[in-house]
């Protein structure tokens, strides 16, 4: 888009007069770039870069003030890991231009209000932290910051608000203190003491039912899994004891003290926290993940203690870097490894701990699981001499503590470890884990190895797995994923379905039509009845068995072959499975033939649901059935169940979206009619269209209600089944005076937790029904506790 004026091109002689100054858009891009890049690796010192940039921006203020304001507000919000770099910059600008400083503070307050209104709570934390660090840069007067903190803490006095609301306001205040505690205490120690005392009182009366549900390990050794506010409080207490001496945070403004202390400060306007709104989504509570301490990094710098404020700051910054760069793994890895001050800390350990902390976070990681695998691979590439060893050490530690690790976290560990190994030729010192061979195979350690090997096989092939493990591990090697055909050869000739299986097989091979095959199938005797009804349409398990076994046998070669078969004979399958028993039996046969290939079972169940041969509730009932009890603790069962629930949820969302779109369309149509005036023809057409839309909306409304009903029913089925199984176990143990904590029980109760955690958003809608029908006071307290912990999350 050229802004060159026309006369430029025509008026050759005058050309030199129109000196091409940079176009405004280019200047704005340049400003963006300069501001975003300050603080990155450079030949000059950070201080001189900041000085230079402040000069450039000051000069551009007359023309680009609002752009500069917006950029600075944005980096304050989105680049918290460079907080002090930007507060210093703002400090220098304020020293040179007092009005600009004031306008910036105002813009930040406006932005803070916006982020709170839009439920962007983590960004709001960064904004408040930025403001608080501006006290250190002489931009904001300390007393006004204290006043803002006092308003925040007063939220703890509010009644009838979710605990997560007051939690957030307390968290904000505490999390600013590493940066500004010293300055605030110097200026306003009485007020600060009062503040901290109020916070202490609040923390003491807080309810912490939710904590067990969020802990990665149930054991407190070697590192307790502390609730995040408790941990931060302990860190601030220690900081206070150390007289607010904090030496980790990079503070460029110290170098500019002589300039900055000449600046005039601004007062923050009084800030009333916005009131609680019913649709507010406060951040979920969390537990601080720790797996390393100072004993784990053998040489080099010592790891800061768990209650040191340094630990808090390092972890915050590393989390922020991941949050900023997660989409670009090379940049993310490079940024993590160039953390300022890295020479004073065992950075690799911090990085690995933070990454695993996110991967294992409950209810779910901040980012998609596979990102962490690839990020760790990238880090290994950049630090091949040191990071792989830390990672191996971490893996070893995680293996050692499997007995008390939450089942959901073990799932993620299995997926991470197998995927990681597949990128490194599956090299691992399996012999180090020979201890897992000496215990019951249902215990967490051998179970973990078994599941890992199964996943490794999926990414390679059976013989590969046989080759990579020592022969002593043979009991843990997965079965070869081959089809088990009941009617394979003449040894099966005595089975009732055998002759028919040959007929059907030939029919399929000869490309018989669906009708022809159904006719053939009519001849299959029904073991359930004495006299066949004429149509032969009632549930006939043998018919299902013969057809499905034969079909899947012919299509066993690959996923594509099987999908094609299911597609081709969709009508037959629907007919055979047109009752609940039919659906259940179909799934049972599917399992029987593919029981050595859980991956195939999963993809076929997925297809059967998507083509509506079976419904989600049928799958749930099948997974919880007695026939599948022996597989109940295997990972593939839960992957199928969660995938099924997700499909159900997506289905509901899809129809809801269609309904919304139809409603929008109707509204637009009605506006058009109102605005179009009195054209009769247009009116009539419009009315017709509206009528059609209204009909469509009614139909969609019914569809939504029906889908939601199906969704609610699915969760009811699942929870009911869990309650039945768990109650049975608990009663049996009680009457037999046996300890309830078997590996099976731990798995089952944590799988129940997992349902709540993984689908909390959907389950919220049905809390009333759940509480009235299922999670009543009569329930065993072990089971009820899971429900209560979930409620305490106040999601």
């Amino acid at each position: 888009m050229s802004r060159r004026r026309h006369s430029d091109e025509n008026d050759g002689g005058q050309a030199h007069k129109r000196r091409r100054t940079s176009e405004p858009i280019e200047i704005e891009d340049r400003l963006e770039s300069l501001i975003c890049r300050v603080g990155e690796k450079s030949t000059s010192s950070l201080e001189s870069n900041l000085e230079g940039l402040a000069g450039v921006l000051e000069a551009d203020l007359p023309n680009y003030k609002s752009k500069i304001l917006r950029i600075l507000c944005t980096v304050a919000r989105l680049l918290p890991e460079k907080l002090t770099v930007y507060t210093t910059l703002v400090g220098l600008l304020n020293a040179r231009n007092y009005n600009f400083g004031g306008e910036f503070v105002e813009a930040m307050i406006r932005q803070l209000k916006e982020t709170l209104k839009n439920n962007l709570y983590s960004e709001a934390v960064y904004l408040v932290r930025f403001l608080s660090d501006l006290v250190n840069c002489h931009v904001i007067a300390a007393p006004s910051m204290v006043a803002m903190f006092e308003n925040f803490v007063s939220v703890t006095q509010e009644e009838d608000v979710p605990q997560v609301r007051s939690d957030w306001f307390v968290y904000v205040v505490l999390s600013c203190l590493p940066w500004v505690g010293k300055e605030l205490y110097e200026k306003k120690d009485v007020e600060m003491d009062r503040l901290l005392s109020q916070i202490e009182g609040y923390l003491k009366r807080r309810v912490k039912t939710h904590v067990p549900m969020l802990q990665v390990w149930t054991a407190d050794k070697p590192h307790p899994q502390e609730e995040y506010l408790d941990c931060l409080w302990a860190q601030i207490q220690k900081l206070k004891k150390d007289r607010w001496q904090e030496r980790h945070i990079l503070r460029p403004y110290i170098a500019f003290d002589s300039v900055l202390c000449e600046a005039l400060q601004h007062n923050l306007p009084p800030f009333t926290p916005p009131g609680h709104m019913p649709d507010a989504q406060y951040p979920m509570p969390r537990v601080i993940f720790r797996m390393f301490d100072y004993t784990d990094a053998p040489e080099g710098p010592v790891m800061p203690g768990s209650h040191s404020v340094e630990r808090f700051v390092i972890e915050e910054n590393l989390h922020c870097i991941i949050k900023t760069h997660w989409k670009e793994r090379k940049t993310c890895a490079a940024q993590l490894l160039s953390y300022p001050g890295k020479n004073k800390i065992p950075l690799n350990y911090h990085i690995v701990e933070v990454i695993f902390g996110e991967l294992f976070q409950l209810p779910s990681p901040p980012h998609i699981d596979v990102m962490y695998t690839t990020l760790l691979i990238e880090l290994c590439k950049l630090q091949p001499g040191s990071l792989p060893q830390v990672l191996a050490q971490a893996t070893e530690m995680l293996y050692m503590r499997l007995d008390t690790m939450n089942t959901t976290c073990i799932d993620r560990l299995i997926n991470w470890f197998s995927h990681h190994l597949s990128n490194f030729q599956f090299r691992w010192s399996w012999d180090d884990w020979a201890d897992c061979l000496t215990v019951d195979l249902e215990k967490p350690k051998p179970k973990f190895v078994k599941e890992v090997l199964e996943k490794c096989m999926r990414l390679s092939y059976h013989q590969r797995i046989v080759d990579i493990v020592p022969p002593t591990f043979s009991a843990l090697i997965p079965a070869e994923p081959i089809f088990t055909y009941k009617y394979a050869d003449e040894s099966a000739s005595s089975l009732p379905g055998y002759p028919m299986s040959i007929t059907v097989s030939n029919a399929i091979k000869n490309r018989a039509s669906n009708e022809e095959i159904l006719t053939v199938l009519k001849e299959v005797p029904n073991p359930n009845q004495e006299d066949d009804d004429d149509e032969g349409e009632s549930f006939n398990p043998l018919k299902i068995d013969v057809f499905l076994q034969t079909l899947l046998n012919l299509a066993a070669k690959s996923f594509s072959h099987s999908f094609s078969a299911l597609g081709k004979f969709h009508e037959i399958l629907k007919t055979l499975a047109n009752s609940d028993e039919g659906k259940l039996h179909l799934l049972k046969v599917l399992y029987e033939v593919w029981r050595n290939h859980p991956q195939m079972i999963a993809v076929l169940v997925d297809k059967l649901i998507r083509t509506q041969v079976v419904d989600c509730a049928a799958v749930a009932n099948w997974l919880f059935s007695q026939d599948m009890a022996h597989e109940f603790t295997r990972l593939f069962i839960w992957e199928i169940l969660h995938s099924t629930i997700r499909k159900m949820n997506k289905h509901v969302q899809k129809i809801q979206k269609e309904l919304e779109e139809a409603k929008d369309k109707l509204e637009k149509q009605q506006h058009k009619r109102r605005d179009s005036g009195d054209d009769e023809d247009m009116d009539k057409n419009s009315e017709d269209e509206e009528g059609q839309l209204e009909e469509q909306i009614e139909r969609l409304q019914e569809k939504v209600e029906s889908a939601q009903s199906e969704q609610k029913n699915l969760f009811l089925v699942i929870f009911q089944r869990f309650i039945m199984l768990l109650t049975e176990h608990l009663v049996r143990c009680e009457t037999g005076s046996v300890d309830i904590s078997t590996p099976w029980y731990k798995n089952c109760i944590e799988r129940l937790q997992q349902i709540f955690l993984m689908h909390h958003a959907t389950i919220q809608q049905y809390m009333g029904t759940l509480e009235n029908l299922l999670f009543t006071a009569e329930l065993d307290h072990h089971i009820l506790a899971v429900y209560q912990q979930f409620c305490a999350l106040q999601l």
Partner: protein
């Protein structure tokens, strides 16, 4: 107030590459549009022995896979080292570009790229010998991709031919 800063929005792993399918039926503009909306990825540098199951396992890590089409030698109708992976959503395909592209499958670094969408016929190699074009001319020995390149094979003495 809400500013999108280009410098902070970098998402280069999901950018469209320079490759354009020369057999695409349609103009360049249409092709660009399809690439930008596509849920389908081309996956290259596979071993000839890599199975649909392995591809499914790996690519499922970024989302639900709708279908996989294994690339075939046009003559032999056997796998010739590439495939298409189609997701139900663009977002899932983007995650694959960010986190699966450039990592290993079957011990080989695989490469993913946006594809305008599978059409019947596109599952076949376009090299003269039936496989992929890249296997026609390469000089290296790659046991997972039929050994030497096709051209190089013609110039290589086969084992045991010279027997005196």
């Amino acid at each position: 107030m809400s500013v999108k800063l280009n410098a902070l929005n970098s998402d280069s792993y999901i950018d469209v590459s320079q490759y354009r399918d020369q057999h695409f039926k349609g103009n360049r503009y249409e092709q660009e549009k399809l690439l930008k909306q596509s849920n389908t990825l081309y996956v290259g540098n596979l071993s000839f022995y890599t199975t649909e199951e392995q591809v499914h396992e790996l690519f499922s890590k970024s989302g639900d896979v709708k279908r996989i089409i294994i690339g075939l030698d046009k003559i032999k109708k056997t796998a010739c080292g590439f495939c298409f992976v189609e997701y139900y959503t663009r977002a899932d395909a983007e995650h694959a570009m960010r986190f699966i592209n450039g990592t290993r499958l079957d011990d080989r670094i695989i490469r993913t790229d946006w594809d305008a969408g599978f059409k019947e016929g596109r599952q076949f190699g376009r090299g003269k010998s039936g496989g992929q074009v890249r296997d026609e001319y390469r000089q290296d020995y790659d046991p997972a991709r039929g050994g030497y390149g096709k051209l190089a094979q013609q110039h290589r003495p086969t084992e045991g031919r010279n027997s005196f």
